[in-house]
């Protein structure tokens, strides 16, 4: 642990590299968290299958490479396929748990998460896979080497986020979603078909996850059971930033990405996941202490 710290001391630019790399991946985390916050805020469902949907998107791009296409081409396919799948999942499962207590939706999506993991495991096996992008690197300095794919994914994540925000502001459906998020009953009274809004929201989230997954498969490796960590990252970001706080989500996403990269380097790769999950516990504890100060509880 201290050897690595010393390395950074010897070459401070290495630290810059670490943080920079972290920021690039942080954009992806923020995108995934935004999807979670959308579903959470609009329909009050805590989607524990979030990470598994990301991994599912990753396998779509991996499948594209198996068939000899470039993984980036899988992006629109993943968006469309995941949208359909999200709609189907809503119709079969989520519709029936939307109005129930929150543990029900949490557990139902946890079951869904197991289901996705196992289906992927059956089809692709438990080995790690990668969707080779072949984009190469570019070098700013001896110590600052950046994979081009990370740069592209930052740009794509940004573009997707902007597209979604514009959609939410301008389109009919976007306005209906925001109205439903504020007060579902009032929206229903005013003639908004909230069932359709919910279905669309969940499907949109699945699309976001799918797109993020395509990028994840190019940057890192994917494996059927890696989803849970993405779910936890998304929960950390949403819990820390709060619902409906887009700038907060983006900032926290960047922060988490940087922390993870730095912590993984300092404590060793085997503790990278632990560093993320412990961050979740810390964020929850922070919220708890904050609420004690105002004589309240975290719910």
């Amino acid at each position: 642990m201290f050897e690595n710290l010393y390395l950074v001391y010897l070459a401070p630019l290495m630290g810059v590299d670490l943080i920079l790399q972290g920021l690039f991946i942080g954009a992806l985390f923020a995108l995934i968290a935004y999807g979670l916050a959308l579903v959470w805020g609009v329909m009050n469902v805590k989607n524990l299958a979030q990470g598994d949907m990301v991994i599912l998107g990753g396998y779509i791009s991996y499948q594209a490479t198996l068939w000899g296409y470039h993984p980036m081409l899988a992006m629109p396919v993943a968006i469309i396929l995941m949208f359909g799948l999200g709609w189907l999942i809503y119709a079969l499962i989520i519709r029936r748990v939307v109005d129930r207590d929150m543990f029900t939706s949490l557990l139902a999506t946890f079951g869904l998460s197991l289901l996705i993991q196992q289906v992927l495991n059956l089809i692709y096996g438990p080995e790690v896979k990668v969707a080779e992008s072949g984009f190469g690197n570019f070098q700013l300095d001896t110590f600052i080497i950046i994979q081009n794919v990370r740069l592209y994914s930052l740009l794509i994540a940004g573009a997707l986020a902007i597209a979604i925000v514009i959609f939410m502001k301008k389109s009919r459906m976007g306005q209906a979603i925001r109205a439903t998020a504020q007060d579902a009953r009032a929206a229903r009274v005013l003639g908004i078909n909230t069932d359709r809004v919910y279905a669309f929201t969940y499907a949109l989230n699945a699309s976001i996850c799918g797109a993020a997954g395509v990028l994840v498969a190019m940057i890192w490796v994917i494996q059927p059971y890696y989803g849970i960590v993405y779910s936890i990252r998304a929960f950390i970001i949403v819990t820390a930033a709060g619902l409906g706080n887009l700038p907060g989500v983006i900032l926290t996403g960047f922060g988490l990405g940087a922390w993870e990269n730095v912590a993984g380097f300092m404590f060793g790769a085997e503790f990278a996941v632990a560093a993320v999950v412990i961050m979740l516990v810390l964020v929850l504890m922070y919220r708890l202490l904050q609420s004690y100060r105002v004589r309240q509880v975290v719910r």
Binding site: Y292, R293, V294, R295
Partner: protein, 251 residues
């Protein structure tokens, strides 16, 4: 205890939510062993004041003391264990337990020792006390029903009985007659008075029903727009032009 010292003293308490001022510089004294009323139109800040007193949120400024002890920074369970309980506007009971169980678990937790919590639930003495109080509010025959199956009015009575079971020094009641069948209101007023006289519990009551509160309370405070408008006996308030204006909506 010094009898000139009020049981609850609220001194220039202010509380705002964001930009909305819910309570502004309010001072109220609730004397020992009496029934004190709190009235005011909807949105005048009555429930906010209640919540401040029993510890649901911090206050912005001012002080709240209970028998001389500052309580404005304590949390709900600590305040409850001092002997100050509140009932809720939206009745809250343990809906999946039966009435007797609801009563038994409502015993005072003030001086409970560590071993006491492992006492058998079906303790004869406690059960008898529970049944007596259920009888007092007229729910004896429903005692073995799951409380969630009771009607709204019955749930309200049960909540009141649970509060009595706790043997509090002060009971804060948030609209005790709201949602109760009008024919039963007189019975409820009678029981509230008896709780005050026989059990010696100080009552501090929010009430919308003017007839009820004028009947019940010895001293009443009236809030409007988050400010204290007037304090006095029922007669004084009934003839106070500011109070009448506040209720008729003339600002």
């Amino acid at each position: 205890m010094n009898s000139s010292q009020p049981q609850i003293e609220v001194k220039s308490v202010s509380k705002s939510y964001g930009g909305v001022v819910a309570n502004k510089d309010i001072s109220i004294r609730v004397p020992h062993g009496r029934i004190t009323g709190l009235i005011g139109p909807n949105g005048s800040g009555k429930t906010t004041l209640f919540n401040s007193i029993v510890g649901y949120h911090p206050i912005d400024s001012g002080s709240i003391t209970f028998e001389g002890q500052e309580i404005s920074t304590l949390r709900v369970p600590d305040i409850a264990r001092l002997g100050m309980l509140r009932t809720f506007q939206q009745t809250r009971i343990y809906k999946k337990m039966n009435c007797v169980q609801n009563m038994i678990i409502s015993v005072s937790h003030r001086d409970e020792g560590f071993g006491g919590i492992f006492k058998q639930a079906k303790d004869r003495e406690t059960e008898q006390q529970a049944e007596e109080l259920l009888n007092f509010v007229g729910l004896y025959q429903k005692r073995n029903l799951i409380s969630g199956d009771l009607s709204f009015g019955q749930q309200k009575l049960l909540e009141f009985a649970m509060a009595l079971m706790n043997k509090p020094k002060v009971l804060l009641l948030d609209e005790p007659t709201a949602g109760i069948n009008p024919t039963l209101i007189n019975g409820l007023i009678d029981r509230l008075k008896r709780a005050n006289e026989e059990f010696g519990i100080t009552l501090f009551v929010i009430e919308h029903n003017m007839r009820v509160i004028m009947n019940l309370a010895e001293e009443i405070s009236c809030l409007a727009h988050g400010e204290l408008l007037a304090t006095g006996s029922p007669d004084e308030l009934q003839n106070d032009q500011r109070v009448i204006d506040a209720y008729l909506g003339a600002h």
